[in-house]
């Protein structure tokens, strides 16, 4: 076997393993500031589509990662059952019919963690592997 064919075989093998690797990534969990109570899947959807602004009397402030980030795509897919395009389209309509603007967007997981810890009512999503022990996990699928 030549060196070239060996490399090709290796790349092919890695491509076959890619879906398994993705499956090994931690689940996307929803975390909240200390004053946010546990929520269910439907409430997560309604918070991120602007239909819910308070949960059990606590005003909530959801945050998103910026478009294009893998974790955001996983959250939209797993929890909202939407593609990035559909979610963007939804908020475009909602904004221009006077029903509000989309959730605040932050650039990094560190910024998200900082926001959640310092902002009462903050709600965000994280990869399970990134959740600090002190975090308030409000929903896990």
């Amino acid at each position: 076997m030549t060196r070239r064919s060996l490399w090709c075989s290796l790349i092919f093998l890695l491509m076959q393993l890619a879906p398994w690797c993705a499956a090994w990534a931690g689940a996307v969990v929803v975390v909240g500031h200390a004053n946010v109570h546990k929520i269910d899947a439907s409430t997560v959807q309604r918070i991120y589509t602007g239909k819910v602004i308070e949960v059990d009397g606590v005003p909530v402030q959801p945050v998103n990662l910026k478009p294009g980030q893998v974790l955001r795509q996983r959250f939209l897919n797993d929890h909202l059952q939407q593609t990035e395009d559909a979610y963007t389209g939804y908020w475009t309509v909602r904004r221009y019919i006077g029903k509000g603007a989309p959730p605040r967007e932050l650039g990094t997981v560190a910024e998200v963690l900082q926001f959640v810890q310092s902002t009462p009512g903050a709600v965000a999503y994280l990869d399970e592997a990134d959740v600090p022990p002190s975090a308030n996990v409000v929903y896990k699928k």
């Binding site: 309604r46 602004i53 308070e54 990035e84 389209g89 475009t92 221009y96 006077g98």
Partner: protein, 424 residues
């Protein structure tokens, strides 16, 4: 919209934004626009701008919106747009369709105060944002009926959720200057404005694969200077089978019946339904009618039906729309057009001219249109659209600027449109 009201609106919007940004928890800006070219096969103008010379003025618009969130309950929005002026055929104008403060006391309530859009039809609130729909141009036999659907006032919405379904009731009340355009065969284009007072209710059911809306609205139209408007135009019989309608106080005959205002009741029904995966049907119907029996009463029925099929980035569609004036409105227009005061009678030219002008101001409609088009989603924030529309003019149409002294009737108009819409 007058220069004064436009400036005051923009100043108020600026102050609202400046104050809002100063104490905002967060704010975001966005922009939208459409650059469109459209051309017909007729030398006369249709839908204000369209003729065989082609125009970019019919659909082109550029707008920006700032949303300020003070906290989860309180927010403010200002939208400014640049589009062809409603008061001048040759100029572009700046308009403020949205400038409001909103309050959500809880999950189910939304209250807005300020300048906003009427919740009339399925796409009324986002009519300028071409990215939010697949039509190259929203059916004008429907969406073109109201020259402006903005008002200043109060709006309240209450929603109920059941599973994935959401039912909401929207109620509103307010007023606005109503910019109007009339074309008369004898005098050309006339821009003027009346005042409108609006109130209404809309019931909307949003399901994962469908949206349904039914609405009842009441519009009250008054002259700017609050003088009375003509309501009944008596027929003056001059003998030997001749006569005319008295449409001007200077004409001989009994007094013109007058009213302080005109009331129009509007009933709407709309549905946007996913029939099967990738197949969508959108249809709306509106009946608008003035109560009572005055000659100048407004009475129209219009509707459209469109079928969309999504194929990857392409969404081709076919649509059919119809608009027809009814009742005394149609009869008066027809009767005025049929007057041919004989030349041997005194002032016959003036009388005939007055009949034509009055017929044109009645604004009767009788049109049918078919359209075939497609939208192409270039990105999630931009679309390219093409459409061929064929309109059949029946007895007459106020959308046509008729050349000469004979109103255009029983003719067809082919209209080609290419648009690029975007949001950022």
């Amino acid at each position: 919209m007058t220069v004064r009201s436009m400036v005051s609106g923009m100043v108020a919007s600026g102050l609202l934004m400046a104050g809002g940004l100063a104490c905002a928890q967060e704010w975001s800006g966005s922009a939208y626009g459409t650059v469109g070219y459209t051309v017909s096969d007729r030398s006369y103008r249709y839908l204000r701008f369209i003729d065989d010379q082609g125009t970019v003025r019919k659909d082109s618009v550029l707008g920006g919106q700032v949303d300020v969130r003070f906290n989860p309950q309180w927010a403010a929005t200002v939208q400014v747009k640049v589009a062809p002026s409603m008061a001048d055929e040759a100029k572009w104008g700046v308009n403020v369709p949205w400038a409001f403060v909103s309050w959500r006391p809880g999950n189910d309530w939304l209250v807005r105060a300020g300048r906003q859009r009427l919740p009339l039809y399925l796409n009324s609130e986002s009519v300028d944002v071409g990215q939010t729909y697949d039509f190259a141009r929203l059916p004008q036999h429907f969406y073109g009926l109201m020259p402006s659907n903005e008002f200043g006032g109060l709006y309240a919405s209450r929603s109920w959720t059941q599973g994935n379904d959401e039912l909401s009731v929207d109620a509103y009340g307010g007023e606005s200057s109503l910019p109007l355009r009339a074309y008369t065969r004898d005098g050309g284009i006339d821009h003027f404005s009346d005042d409108g007072r609006y109130s209404g209710l809309a019931l909307t059911l949003r399901q994962p694969t469908a949206t349904w809306r039914v609405g009842a609205h009441r519009f009250l139209i008054l002259k700017k200077d609050r003088t009375d408007m003509g309501a009944n135009f008596p027929y003056v019989d001059t003998g030997f089978g001749t006569g005319y309608y008295k449409v001007d106080d200077r004409m001989p005959g009994p007094d013109i019946g007058r009213a302080s205002h005109k009331t129009i009741h509007v009933f709407t029904l709309g549905a946007d339904v996913e029939l099967a995966p990738a197949w969508r049907m959108v249809s709306e119907i509106v009946r608008s009618q003035s109560p009572g029996h005055a000659d100048a009463n407004w009475s129209t029925i219009s509707g459209y039906l469109a079928l969309f099929h999504r194929m990857e980035r392409f969404t081709p569609y076919v649509s059919f729309s119809r608009l027809k004036s009814m009742g005394t409105m149609a009869r008066l227009s027809e009767a005025l057009d049929n007057v041919n005061y004989p030349a041997y009678m005194p002032s016959s030219a003036l009388v005939n001219q007055a009949q034509r002008v009055a017929a044109d101001y009645v604004g009767a409609m009788d049109e049918t249109a078919w359209a075939v088009g497609t939208s192409l989603a270039i990105t999630s924030q931009s679309k390219l659209k093409f459409e061929w529309m064929r309109t059949e003019i029946g007895k007459r149409s106020a959308y046509v600027d008729s050349p000469g002294l004979q109103a255009v009737r029983q003719q067809h108009i082919n209209v080609l449109t290419a648009n690029f819409s975007f949001v950022y």
